[in-house]
């Protein structure tokens, strides 16, 4: 069961890196970055997971609970990811208005 999660993480990271490297469309590049980000966040959640654990809320009737710190980290990482994505999309709009295209052409300029 736990291997399925790590397989999912590896797939998400691989898909994301493949997309960033091969795609020239700006929207696709940022979608790929978001996919990678999901993979990393899933990784953080997965390492804090304990089979059969509950939420760590102090009410006295639990024995095993999951590690809450990775969840706090992931919340922070999601917020950061959203703000980077928002900035990127604003710039994509600006780029489209100037060039009437989403293709990123200057990647190999010297």
């Amino acid at each position: 069961m736990i291997w399925a999660i790590y397989f999912a993480i590896a797939s998400l990271l691989a898909i994301g890196i493949y997309g960033v490297i091969t795609k020239k469309n700006l929207m696709k590049i940022f979608i790929s970055i978001s996919i990678m980000e999901t993979g990393v966040n899933l990784m953080l959640i997965a390492i804090g997971y304990i089979p059969g654990g509950t939420a760590p809320i102090e009410n006295g009737d639990f024995t095993t609970y999951v590690d809450p710190l990775p969840q706090a980290l992931v919340l922070t990482a999601i917020v950061i990811g959203v703000s980077v994505l928002a900035l990127a999309l604003v710039m994509v709009i600006n780029y489209y208005e100037k060039n009437k295209t989403l293709e990123y052409r200057r990647l190999m300029k010297w």
């Binding site: 990271l13 890196i17 960033v20 700006l26 590049i29 970055i33 990678m36 980000e37 990393v40 990784m43 953080l44 390492i47 590690d67 710190l69 990775p70 980290l73 922070t76 990482a77 950061i80 703000s83 980077v84 900035l87 990127a88 710039m91 600006n94 780029y95 100037k98 060039n99 990123y104 200057r106 990647l107 300029k109 010297w110």
Partner: protein, 518 residues
């Protein structure tokens, strides 16, 4: 309020003050143009004073610890726990050394911006983002917590991206910003992944606690590779350097000067991870060799790419890559020699050279970018072929440019000479070829700056322009003052500032002990 209180809380204040001021800036901006400028400059000056005040104490030999949210900021490990839980700021000589660079460059760029962006729109947002860059840099340099490092890295990324794209009415500004944003996002994800790998094994985020627990397992090696790759991307070392020329050349010149300091914050994080986090568990000569190869490639590729450039800021950006190579070479040689006990004094010398070069580079490359901005301010072009004869009318700019160019080429009375000499000497102990390549790169650097000087300032008077406004000259004068000061008294600077920083970086045990307490 006595000075002890201020000294104890200054690590937190240094980060909190510009953060608060950044978000007050839109409010102050509504009052008047003058209020906004005065507010920005006052904040930057207070920041510089705070950093120097703390630096004076840290260089005196006591690193500062600050635990966020604890009743007593010095209790890093809470009574109920065995390891540090809260976010700990750890300010040792290396961290405060980098903070001095960041604060000084931001002060110079802030003064310079007063006139430089006068005709642009959105000046309130400009200063907000400028202060946020300062927050990001200082946070990365003062923190002792891995996840906090990631958060400040992202603050830095967002603020830098927005300011690179500041002149979004010109087409290529946004393109340069895209490159920076994509590289930075991927680098930040690598860092986060490495943090996840470390946390999974040791349940720790604090760097000092991690350093004392680390086992150097296979997962740790993967995390090290990810961290080194991510920070090398961000600092613009050669295999991952292609964002540098684009981003540096399209940003406003004042921001480019800050971007130099920002990429050095990533360089600092790279050194911090190699020395303080992995430190003695590393095979020192292997990672040192890797840094030497990165450094040589950066030096050589950077300078040869710079020679044929026609865009003045693109040319300087390639030189920034080549100078980053010197720092990597110096510190790489240091790591390599520290592994061999009979050469360890040379190892420290090499690290002093590399670290001294960081501050020198921030000053003279910042100055050169500011002069290129002065030329752009008057001529509205970055193309060297369209310039000429500016020495007749822009005398002060020409003098500042000469000082910067001689300093970057390593000509004796200026500061570049002192740090390069240290690097040549120590690199000679590893292999004479390293020193020869380093000197060759210096000569090529001088050659390309002679070219820039000739095409921009010499020749008959073509353009009827005036000298740039006084605030821009004042910004450049701040950096020139530091260059001349460091050039005239290199021995004092190395002995009192650079040597403690190199020692703090090399001494992993002291770094761990300061937080965990033995």
């Amino acid at each position: 309020m006595n000075t002890d209180w201020l000294l104890q809380h200054s690590p937190a204040l240094i980060i909190a003050l510009p953060l608060l001021a950044a978000f007050l800036m839109p409010v102050v901006d509504r009052i008047s143009r003058k209020a906004r400028n005065v507010f920005a400059i006052i904040v930057l000056i207070v920041e510089e004073i705070l950093v120097l005040f703390l630096a004076y104490d840290v260089f005196g030999g006591n690193p500062h610890i600050y635990t966020m949210g604890a009743a007593n900021p010095l209790t890093t490990v809470p009574a109920q726990a065995a390891v540090p839980i809260r976010i700990v700021l750890e300010v040792d000589a290396m961290g405060i050394f980098m903070a001095m660079i960041s604060a000084t460059v931001c002060l110079a760029a802030g003064i310079y911006s007063l006139a430089f962006i006068e005709e642009e729109k959105g000046k309130g947002k400009y200063y907000t983002l400028l202060l946020l860059i300062l927050v990001g840099m200082l946070g990365m340099e003062l923190t002792g917590d891995m996840f906090n490092l990631f958060v400040f890295l992202e603050v830095l990324t967002i603020a830098c991206t927005a300011l690179i794209a500041y002149r979004s009415n010109t087409g290529d500004a946004v393109e340069g910003a895209f490159k920076f944003l994509i590289i930075s996002s991927i680098a930040a994800l690598f860092v986060l992944f490495a943090i996840a790998l470390l946390y999974a094994q040791y349940d720790l985020l604090n760097m000092a606690a991690l350093a004392s627990a680390i086992q150097y397992s296979n997962l740790d090696k993967i995390a090290l590779v990810l961290l080194v790759a991510a920070f090398a991307m961000k600092c613009g070392s050669v295999p991952m350097h292609f964002w540098t020329p684009d981003a540096y050349s399209v940003a406003p010149a004042s921001i480019t000067a800050i971007l130099v300091a920002a990429s050095q914050a990533s360089l600092y994080a790279l050194f911090r991870v190699c020395f303080s986090l992995y430190g003695v568990t590393l095979n020192l000569s292997t990672i040192g060799g890797a840094l030497i190869i990165f450094g040589l490639l950066s030096m050589f590729v950077g300078v040869t790419m710079a020679l044929p450039q026609k865009d003045i800021k693109r040319l300087m950006a390639y030189h920034a890559i080549s100078q980053t190579g010197y720092m990597l070479l110096g510190v790489g040689v240091g790591l390599y020699l520290l592994a061999k006990p009979e050469f360890s004094t040379y190892g420290i010398k090499a690290m002093e050279g590399g670290i001294f070069h960081i501050i020198n580079h921030a000053m003279y490359k910042g100055l050169l970018f500011l002069t290129s901005g002065a030329i752009f301010y008057r001529l509205k072009t970055r193309n060297l072929n369209e310039m000429g004869g500016l020495g007749h009318s822009m005398k002060w700019t020409a003098i500042f440019f000469i000082i910067g160019a001689l300093a970057i080429a390593g000509i004796p009375p200026f500061n570049g000479f002192a740090s390069k000499l240290l690097i040549y000497e120590a690199a000679y102990k590893v292999s004479p070829i390293l020193s020869i390549i380093a000197m060759l790169v210096s000569i090529l650097t001088l050659a390309s700056f002679v070219k820039v000087f000739h095409s921009a300032f010499m020749g008959p008077k073509i353009y009827d322009v005036e000298e740039v406004p006084k605030s821009m000259l004042a910004g450049m004068a701040v950096l020139t003052f530091v260059i001349i000061l460091f050039g005239l008294f290199p021995g004092w600077v190395v002995g009192n500032i650079v040597h403690p920083a190199a020692q703090a970086l090399a001494d992993q045990a002291a770094y761990i002990q300061a937080v965990i307490g033995g």
